[in-house]
Amino acid sequence: MQISLSKENRPIVVASLFVGVILIAGTAYTLSTTGTAPLLSVNYLLQQLQTGSFLGICAAGMMMVILLGHIDLSIPWTLTAAAMTATAVGGDLAIPTALGVGVCVGLLNGIGVAWLRIPSMIFTLGVDTVLRGLMVAQTGGFAPQDRATPVMLFLAKDRIFGIPAAILVWAAVSIVIATLLTRTGFGKSLYATGSREGAAYLSGIRTRWVIIGAFVISGVCAAIAGVLLTGYSAKAYQGMGNAFLLPAIAAVVLGGTHILGGKGRYVGTLVGVILIVLLNSVLSIMQMPEAGRQIIYGAVIIGMLLVYGRNQRVTS
């Protein structure tokens, strides 16, 4: 039987199949070495997804920006700045503060990219450096409070009906993003602006506001991830966001979103995040040294994209 797949869905199906392959290969390995199959236990998978939720939320925000054909390199220090400011403020205002930081950074990025027309690659990089400078200056002279608040601890570590709260937060963010993309005018404008900004502008879309909106969402997502990560590690610290930038981009692209914008489904990003999280956990079960991990990680991205991420040949 011939199964026909639309071009949009192919990456999602292939990536899902690969997630299956990772699970089977990992289980075969653990069965042959220790005779157990931890990868197939629900509890273990939930635990992995719990740690994966930080990456998942970052990737959700990153996807909005990539759909526009832009990129947000300021995620690491937006995440860190939101977390550090939130813990410094503390109390009930901590989480609103974090979100506020995310909104401000997003606005700044959006203004630089949409109005000043500076390439997002370099502007968000500059914002990232400035945020790092601010955080170094803030924490250098004295030690502000860096303990996670009880709400953060609850969101990151506790379980509701057996499901980690972090996963529920990730699910909530996912639902909001998916609804935005498929059911609202903003979502349609996002795809249109990402495909061809000039055409979108001529058809009456206020593309500048769309760009700003996408960057604000990205900033807020990074801030949410910062809040959760602070709860998970019980405190905020410098450099806590460094490990999320490149995997977030990789997850979005592995999920079939085109890096030049205009194409991609949110389900793909979800599958991409799950793929990266499971790949990491299988490699750590195998006790693969860092060198091998990096090589396999790179090879998997290239391999997957060779299967479904190839461009059209330029012929005119």
Binding site: G69, L73, G112, W115, L116, R117, I118, P119, M121, I122, F123, L125, G126, V127, D128, T129, V130, L131, R132, G133, V136, A137, G140, G141, R196, E197, G198, Y201, L202, T207, N242, L246, I249, A250, V253, I259, L260, P289, E290, A291, G292, R293, Q294, I295, I296, Y297, G298, A299, I301, I302, L305, L306, G309, R310, N311, Q312, R313, V314, T315, S316
Partner: protein, 353 residues
């Protein structure tokens, strides 16, 4: 009279075509002269040598980044390739002069081959450069960690000394030109060797490349790939060459870093920082991230601007805690000058790509 007027119009045309580069050059000149005036031992060979040493690696990596940017892509693996070659060099640059030479050649070959692989993935795999090099960058870091799990290395001391000091020291170490006292060496004796190395590589690699058909094709691809294809230009060859040369130049940076620090260090953070700084240097030099305009010499100036800014912290009494903030603000302000373009466009649609 007539001749001088054509010359001034030539200059005007060059300026209007290379506004970004001219501005970068001017900015660098002002920053560097002010730095030397403020420095207690300014305009001396020792200061120049120190400055040159700290600029070489980022200068090479910035030049490497330029080529993929010119074709409208981006190479996120330059920092990683530099780290990989740095680790390779830290293993090989020791023994007899012949062995050292072979080691240096092998190091450069490693980077070149890695760049060639990037090019092949981009051209034949038809994967976007930015994401392909993101992945190969991880592979390069993995290989570097494989070669050198812990920082360290074994680099010939004479070589390390000779190449990180003045021309006189180079001649003195290897005993040519009467140990540096020959009359014909006098005018050059105080020039820092690292500076010469960058200039030599730029002149024998970049300048001929830019004039070749392949080099011109690189520019054509960045301006309009479809048009370049229809004109029968060798697109695939140009793209592969651009990435290969990027690998080679990144390897020059890695090789020099090994000579300068006498060690190799497979540091993921350092690799990432070099990659991001290389993009900043390319933009500061006036090369457009959209491709088609700019050049490696411009990125060289961009890299020097980045470095001079950090030199200022040594002579000015600035709280070290504020340094990263000031660096970031300067970078952000510098790139924001590109926004003047938006004031000049007559048609709103020209703003969109």
């Amino acid at each position: 009279m007539k001749q001088s007027s054509t010359r001034s119009s030539d200059l005007k045309r060059w300026l209007s075509q290379n506004t970004g580069f001219a501005a970068a050059l001017l900015l660098f000149a002002i920053l560097f002269l002010t730095y030397n005036v403020l420095h207690p031992r300014g305009f001396s060979s020792a200061v120049a040598i120190q400055n040159a040493n700290e600029t070489v690696a980022i200068a090479f990596v910035a030049m490497a980044q330029t080529l993929p940017v010119l074709i409208g892509g981006l190479d996120l693996s330059v920092g990683a390739v530099m780290t990989l070659t740095n680790c390779v060099a830290s293993e090989l640059l020791t023994g007899s002069p012949l062995q050292i030479l072979l080691g240096a050649v092998l190091t450069l070959l490693t980077g070149t081959l890695f760049g060639f692989m990037n090019g092949c993935i981009v051209v034949y795999g038809r994967i976007q450069p930015i994401i392909a090099t993101l992945a190969t960058g991880a592979v390069a870091i993995g290989l570097a960690l494989l070669i050198r799990p812990k920082p360290g290395g074994n680099v010939d001391d004479d070589l390390s000394w000779a190449l990180t000091n003045s021309v006189w020291d180079l001649a003195d170490t290897y005993g040519f030109a009467d140990g540096g006292e020959a009359w014909w060496l006098r005018p050059f004796a105080d020039i820092p060797v690292p500076f010469l190395l960058v200039v030599v590589v730029a002149v024998i690699v970049w300048v001929p490349f830019r004039r070749s058909v392949t080099g011109r094709t690189v520019y054509a691809i960045g301006s309009a790939e479809g048009a370049a294809y229809m004109s029968g230009l060798p697109i695939q060859r140009a793209k592969i060459t651009a990435f290969t040369l990027a690998g080679f130049l990144a390897a020059c940076g890695g090789l020099y870093l090994a000579i300068q620090t006498s060690s190799g260090n497979a540091d993921v953070q350092q690799a990432g920082a070099y990659t991001l700084n290389s993009i900043a240097a390319v933009v500061l030099g006036g090369t457009s991230l959209l491709g088609g305009t700019g050049g490696a010499i411009a990125s060289l100036v961009g890299a020097m601007i980045l470095r001079v800014i950090s030199f200022y912290f040594r002579i000015l009494d600035i709280d070290p805690l504020l340094q990263p903030l000031i660096e970031g603000l300067v970078l952000l302000t510098a790139v924001s000058f590109g926004a003047f373009r938006t004031l000049r466009v007559k048609n709103q649609l020209d703003l969109f790509r």
